[in-house]
Symmetry: C2
Subunit: 404 residues, 2 copies
């Protein structure tokens, strides 16, 4: 039940993370500007994300920011200024969001390949989907193998509502998927530096073609035009799949016989065993597994006041409804059914849960485990892999706290 | 089918309202500050709501701002910086939201009257409820009788997610409602000017005691601490009831034998006939009726491009699920079933709808009518009343547009 060798990294994560945590609970929009000017020690927000709330985020770098565990809010939908950011390349110029309706998207690998503007898409259909965006490497910071990459804890995830047009509407409008095409391969609009083989850097991902049934080309997030930081003016979003598969500033959706030749598809985001390099022989990181974590308590080594405590958190089924969550306060020895809070927003959204419990003074190991409609329960152990993907271990996400 | 005598008021509303409407579609959080500095002609936002998006709002006064018809967004939940504001008195000092956990709420008219702090409430329970906030006078601007009060069109309404503790939990914790109490009477924390009979100005509203079953004492809205502009640090929210019944900065919830003696309960917010003064003999404005309106097109006299158009809008059941919406483009002569977009967030939330239609060049009269689970359908005519409350007439909410 002891923390393993993670305390060094935890301390590091806390240093960047917990700085102004006490102020989160009282943070109103009005005090945001003030709070920002007070965060002197943390790395600062990049220009394209300057409108984010720095007190709610752990800023790892200019292209990687995660939501603090205590800053998701209890409103089911993650406030946009607290939502994590993770870019594989630097984003394009802000200019591309100034006239979103003129952005062009090419549909290929269909009977009648066509280029549409976003303005045209908006006249063709409308759908809204609540869904979790979660980085493939969320929870990497808990791997004892210390995989390279951003040391995310729980916050490279958020639940948002995307609005756009179903990809299947565009398939219909372009005559259907061409014969023999097995993948939907989408390409981001990032600028590729000159003199580099595009395959080494370009953001292009393939998912099974049938997944297009649930995908959306989205121009809105949480009711506002999609900002550049989250892939505006247009993003391909794939509910139930990890974030890398939801292509930002998407400029092409192609139905293809084979998976993309890009390195990000062939070798990165592969479930390679410890010590092995990623390659096409290993599973691609696509679907998200069942997962949950507590958000209150929200910090390792936190001290809570004794008495009645609301242990709360977030739970996701991955690719089917989350049907139950249990909470343990004794490191997984005993489990107690938690209660869902608020409405069910569908299989791709998360649910809030709460477990009210009377806690005497003492030490507690607090964690949660979710079960989904497919009967899968969040496991104690992570799936070991070389790059630290898909961590859903309830043990890794546990917090040791003191009740005084 | 012609606009009646409303054109003068429509023109006035448009002058204040549509100023920068073209920019709404492309407005990102980043361009907000810029947009604000460009809105030279509109009245400016008051300090307590300075974080609002002025381009999304019609600013009637320092205490009344409504969301423009084209600015609700398509994400089901109204973005907070676009949500309407309506205060009966000036709000208290911003200071009351600085340490929200210390705010005190008195529970009276129960077996064991008790004062709780918000910090204590947070340890006692947790619930999240998606619900419509709508001013009783939303749609007043369409009454030909020109009732006094803010000339709201459609935008004194929003759908948000409130988080707090169910009032019934507090009733349980205080021994149950005292015998003979028929109303839940809640009091706002506004400062009452000296030398005035408090009953003439205080914001204190009574609703039937059994409605406490669905009420919440809320400290969060859309996942962030409740700002002063929306009643923070603590608001009593009554799902299904008009906004005036959801008491801001609530300092007392009392179960009472009689309705409040305050003027706002006795005489205001009463369904008095045209020409009569409000008084207790008329129904209090409590429950919201079934209602819908189109949001695209979003302006009277708008010109749309011919071809396929997505007519879209928002529909609410009032106090039961909205089960269907029809759209008419010929002034109500023929109706077409619209399709719901996105998930059902429960009986107190609204749903988005869309009706895709091919429109030839010409003139159209576009409107919608909703039906709820109780079998009630939105009527053609408003319920006439002296102060312009509860307007749900589909005819009043119709837009005359041109397709070119």
């Amino acid at each position: 039940m002891k923390p393993t060798n993670l305390s060094r990294r935890h301390a590091m994560l806390r240093a960047g993370g917990a700085l102004s945590l006490a102020s989160i609970g009282t943070l109103t929009p009005i005090s945001k500007a003030l709070a920002a000017s007070e965060s002197k020690d943390a790395p600062s927000l990049p220009d394209y994300a300057s409108w984010k709330n720095p007190d709610a985020l752990i800023i790892h770098s200019a292209n990687t920011m995660e939501t603090k565990r205590g800053a998701f809010g209890d409103g089911l939908i993650t406030p946009l200024d607290r939502l994590f950011v993770r870019n594989n390349l630097n984003p394009p110029s802000e200019e591309i969001t100034e006239d979103p309706d003129s952005w062009e998207i090419r549909i290929e690998g269909v009977k009648n390949p066509t280029t549409f503007t976003v303005g045209e898409l908006k006249r063709m259909g409308l759908e809204s989907v609540p869904m979790i965006l979660q980085c493939s490497g969320n929870g990497r910071g808990y791997f004892p193998s210390e995989p390279s990459g951003t040391q995310w804890t729980v916050g490279a995830a958020g639940c948002v509502i995307f609005t756009g047009i179903p990809v299947k509407k565009l398939i219909e409008a372009t005559g259907g998927i061409a014969d023999g095409m097995k993948y939907m391969t989408s390409t981001g609009g990032e600028e590729i530096p000159e003199g580099i083989d595009p395959d080494t850097v370009k953001v292009e991902r393939s998912v099974p073609a049938e997944i297009s049934d649930r995908a959306l080309l989205a121009w809105e997030i949480n009711g506002v035009p999609l900002p550049l930081a989250h892939g505006g003016p247009l993003r391909l979003v794939v509910p139930g799949f990890t974030g890398v598969n939801s292509i930002k500033y998407v400029k092409q959706v192609a139905f293809t016989e084979d998976q993309s030749s890009a390195n990000i598809q062939q070798n990165s985001y592969r479930m390679a065993p410890l010590g092995e390099k990623g390659s096409p022989e290993y599973d691609s990181v696509w679907e998200m597994p069942v997962k949950s974590w507590v958000t209150q308590p929200s910090e390792p080594d936190q001290t809570l006041k004794s008495g009645l405590v609301q242990i709360k958190g977030l739970a996701m089924g991955g690719n089917s409804d989350v049907t139950g969550v249990e909470v343990s306060v004794d490191g997984g020895d005993t489990w107690h059914e938690a209660k869902f809070v608020g409405p069910d927003l569908g299989p791709y959204a998360w649910r809030q849960f709460v477990y009210p419990v009377e806690l005497e003074p003492g030490k507690y190991e607090v964690t949660s485990r979710a079960t989904n409609a497919d009967g899968q329960t969040q496991p104690k152990e992570r799936m070991e892999n070389n790059r630290g993907y898909l961590n859903n271990s309830w043990h890794d996400h546990m917090l040791s706290i003191t009740v005084a």
